[in-house]
C-alpha cells in the first residue's frame, strides 16, 4: 500500500522534479554562460514563461482529455490556423469594420465557433464511421490545412487592431491575458475531469471501452463532446495568440499537434488511454517551454532544444514502462 503511494508520487511527481531540476540547472549554468544580467528564475521571467506556454498549452489540455479517451487529434494545428484566419479576416468584413472595436468580441466568437464546428466534424466522423481517430484526424489535418491555404493563398491574413493587442497584453498581477486564459482552462478542465460524471466516463472509456459500453456509457456522443472541446480549445488558443499578433501565416500551427502530444505524454498521460492528468500536462507544457527558454538563456542552438526534448520524451516513456512492469509483477505475487 505504502509502496503504491510512493510509486504514484514518483510517477506524478517526476515531471515536477524535472522542472525543478531545469530551474536549478539554468539558474546555475546561466551564471556562467548567459550574457544576461538578470537571473533566470526572475519572477517576471516565470510569468512570461506561462504566457509563452499558452498557445501550445491550451491545446495540450484538450489533447489530454482526448488522449485519456484513447483517441488522438492531429488536426489541432490546422484548426488553430483556420480559427485565427477567421478571426482576423472577419474584422475586415464591411459590417464588422463599421462596428469598430465592438466587432472584437464577435470576431472571437466566429473563431470559437469555427473551432467547435471543425471539432464536431472530427467527432461525428469518428463516432459514425468507427474509423480510428488517428486516421480521421490525420485526414482532417490535411483537409483543414487545405482550407487554410484556400482562404488566402500563401499570403498572410492580416488585421492589426491596437485595442485587441492591448487586451491581449493587458495584465493582472503580472499575468498577461494568454497566461490567464491558459490557467483558467487548466482549472476548468481539471474540475471537469476530476469532479464530474463526464470526467469519470472519459477515464472509463479509455481504460476499457467495452466495459464502458456495457456499463451504459454512450461512447459515441461522449467522443463527439470531447472533439468539440479540443476544437474549441484550439480556437481559444488562436484567439489568445492572434489577438496579440494580428497576422496569421498559412503555415502557422504546423507541428503544434506534435508539441501538444509531447507535452501530454511528458505529463504522464498514456497513449493507450485510461490514465492521465490535466495537472501533469500543465507540467509537461511548462517543462517544454522552460527547455526552449533555458537553452536560449545559456546560448545553446535552437536545434539542441529539439534533440534534448526528444531524448527526454523517450526517457520518460521508458521510465513509465519500467514502473508499470513492476506494477504488473507485483500483482502476480
Amino acid at each position: 500500500m505504502q509502496n503504491d503511494t510512493v510509486k504514484k508520487l514518483v510517477k506524478n511527481g517526476a515531471i515536477w522534479a524535472f522542472i525543478v531540476f531545469q530551474l536549478v540547472f539554468f539558474e546555475v549554468a546561466g551564471q556562467w554562460w548567459s550574457l544576461s544580467d538578470s537571473a533566470f528564475m526572475d519572477a517576471d521571467n516565470m510569468l512570461l514563461l506561462l504566457k509563452q506556454s499558452a498557445p501550445i498549452g491550451i491545446i495540450a489540455i484538450g489533447m489530454t482529455v482526448v488522449m485519456i479517451n484513447g483517441n488522438i487529434d492531429l488536426s489541432v494545428g490546422a484548426t488553430y490556423a483556420l480559427a485565427g484566419i477567421v478571426m482576423l479576416d472577419s474584422m475586415n468584413w464591411p459590417f464588422m469594420e463599421a462596428m469598430g472595436d465592438a466587432a472584437i468580441p464577435l470576431a472571437w466568437l466566429f473563431a470559437l465557433v469555427t473551432g467547435c464546428v471543425l471539432g464536431l466534424i472530427n467527432g461525428v466522423v469518428v463516432w459514425k464511421t468507427g474509423v480510428d481517430a488517428f486516421i480521421v484526424t490525420l485526414g482532417a489535418m490535411l483537409g483543414y490545412r487545405g482550407l487554410v491555404f484556400m482562404y488566402n493563398g500563401e499570403n498572410p491574413t492580416y488585421h492589426l487592431n491596437w485595442t485587441m493587442v492591448d487586451i491581449a497584453e493587458a495584465d493582472i498581477l503580472g499575468l498577461q491575458t494568454p497566461a490567464i486564459v491558459f490557467l483558467a482552462v487548466v482549472l476548468i478542465v481539471w474540475l471537469v475531469m476530476t469532479r464530474t460524471v463526464h470526467g469519470r466516463n472519459a477515464y472509463a472509456i479509455g481504460d476499457n471501452r467495452e466495459a464502458a459500453v456495457n456499463a451504459g456509457i454512450r461512447v459515441g456522443p461522449h467522443f463527439v463532446l470531447n472533439f468539440v472541446l479540443i476544437g474549441f480549445l484550439a480556437a481559444l488558443s488562436a484567439v489568445a495568440f492572434y489577438s496579440g499578433s494580428g497576422s496569421v501565416n498559412p503555415n502557422d500551427g504546423m507541428l503544434f499537434e506534435l508539441w501538444a502530444i509531447t507535452a501530454v505524454v511528458l505529463g504522464g498521460t498514456k497513449l493507450t488511454g485510461g490514465r492521465g492528468s490535466i495537472i501533469g500536462t500543465l507540467g509537461g507544457v511548462i517543462a517544454i517551454q522552460l527547455l526552449r527558454k533555458g537553452l536560449g538563456h545559456i546560448g545553446a542552438d535552437t536545434e539542441t532544444v529539439n534533440l534534448v526534448i526528444g531524448t527526454i520524451l523517450i526517457a520518460v516513456l521508458f521510465l513509465d514502462r519500467q514502473l508499470n512492469r513492476k506494477g504488473a509483477e507485483e500483482l502476480k505475487v
Binding site: 551564471q31 556562467w32 512570461l48 509563452q52 498557445p55 498572410p156 527558454k293 538563456h297 535552437t302
Partner: protein, 319 residues
C-alpha cells in the same frame, strides 16, 4: 549575500580580469532570425553574423532562430526584452505578426533593427532602422543591365520584353517590379514591356508562365525575373522551345543556378546580394544606433550588378 550572487560576482570578476577594460563597456545585441536551416542564404547569414561579432571584442551577441515559427519568434523577442539586451535585430518571420512584440521592445526602451525584409508600415514607428537590400534600386539596376545589353546588341529601339514577378503581395516582389518598370523607360524609352505575370518565387511556376509567353509571343528579346530562381525557370522553358539564344535573361538576387547559367553563357545578368554583406550591415547598423550616430531609417547595403562581363569579380553564391 546569497550563494548565487557570490557566484555571479566571482564570474563577473573573472570576466573583467579576462576581457580587461573592453568587457566593461561591451554591448549585448540579440538577434532572432527567420529560419536558419531552410536555405543556405540564411545559414551563411548566421555564420557571417557570428563571425563579425566575434571580431569585435566589444560586442556580445545572443543568436536565436525562430525556425520559421511566428509564435516562437515573438517568445524570443520577449525573452530578449527580459534579458535586457542593449539592442535587438529581428529578421521577421511575418512582417505583420511581430509588430506588437516590436512595440513591447520599443516600450522597454530597446532599439530594434529589422534585417533583410522589412516589417509592415504600421510598425515603422517602433523601429530604429531597417538594414537590408534596396529592392527598388535592384529593380532599377536590372532595367539598366537589360538596356545596356540591348544597346550593345543594337536592338534598343525595337526590343520587346516580358516580366516574371515574385509572389503577389510580397513587398520584395512589388518593389523590384516597381523599380524595374520605372527605370526602363528612362534608359530605354523604346523597349516595350508586353506583359507581366507572377512566378511566385518558384522555378516551376515561372517555367509555366514562360512557356505560355513563348506560345503567345513570336518575338521576345528579354525576360526580367524577380529573382534568379524564376529566371532559370524561364530560361529552361526557352531552352526547351529552342529560343533561348534570341533572349536576354536578367534576374535579381544572384542564385548559384543563375551564376552557373551565366558561366555557360545562357543567362545574361543579375543583382549580386551577399548574405555576408547583409549580416555585417545589420550588426553595423545596430552598433551605429547604439553609438548614437544618425542612422537613416532605410539603411541599405549595396547590391551590385553582375553580368557575364564582370562575374569573375564575384564568388559563386552559396545558395
Amino acid at each position: 549575500m546569497t550563494y548565487s550572487t557570490k557566484l555571479s560576482l566571482a564570474c563577473t570578476t573573472a570576466l573583467i580580469a579576462l576581457g580587461g577594460a573592453a568587457a566593461a563597456q561591451s554591448v549585448t545585441i540579440g538577434i532572432t532570425q527567420n529560419n536558419v536551416g531552410v536555405d543556405s542564404y540564411q545559414t551563411t547569414y548566421e555564420q557571417a553574423f557570428i563571425a563579425a561579432a566575434e571580431q569585435n571584442p566589444d560586442v556580445e551577441v545572443v543568436v536565436l532562430d525562430a525556425g520559421g515559427d511566428v509564435a516562437r519568434q515573438i517568445a524570443q523577442i520577449q525573452d530578449l526584452i527580459q534579458q535586457e539586451v542593449d539592442a535587438m535585430i529581428i529578421w521577421p518571420t511575418n512582417g505583420q505578426a511581430v509588430i506588437p512584440a516590436v512595440r513591447e521592445a520599443y516600450q522597454a526602451g530597446i532599439p530594434v533593427i529589422i534585417t533583410n525584409s522589412n516589417i509592415a508600415e504600421d510598425g515603422f514607428e517602433f523601429v530604429r532602422s531597417f538594414s537590408g537590400p534596396d529592392n527598388i534600386t535592384q529593380g532599377a539596376r536590372s532595367a539598366e543591365i537589360m538596356c545596356e545589353r540591348f544597346t550593345e546588341m543594337g536592338i534598343q529601339d525595337e526590343a520587346r520584353i516580358v516580366q516574371i514577378t515574385g509572389q503577389p503581395g510580397y513587398t520584395t516582389a512589388i518593389e523590384r517590379a516597381e523599380g524595374f518598370e520605372q527605370r526602363l523607360p528612362e534608359v530605354c524609352p523604346n523597349v516595350t514591356l508586353v506583359e507581366s505575370q507572377p512566378g511566385n518565387w518558384n522555378r516551376e511556376d515561372s517555367q509555366r508562365v514562360m512557356e505560355a509567353f513563348l506560345v503567345q509571343y513570336d518575338d521576345i528579346d528579354g525576360v526580367y525575373s524577380g529573382d534568379d530562381n524564376m529566371g532559370v525557370g524561364a530560361l529552361n522553358a526557352a531552352l526547351a522551345a529552342g529560343r533561348a539564344d534570341e533572349i536576354v535573361f536578367v534576374g535579381a538576387t544572384n542564385f548559384a543556378v543563375g551564376y552557373d547559367a551565366m558561366e555557360r553563357g545562357e543567362y545574361w545578368g543579375s543583382i549580386y546580394q551577399s548574405p555576408v554583406d547583409d549580416a555585417e550591415a545589420a550588426l553595423q547598423t545596430a552598433l551605429d544606433v547604439l553609438a548614437g550616430e544618425d542612422v537613416p531609417f532605410f539603411n541599405y547595403f549595396d547590391t551590385p550588378k553582375i553580368t557575364q562581363d564582370n562575374m569573375s569579380e564575384f564568388d559563386r553564391p552559396v545558395f
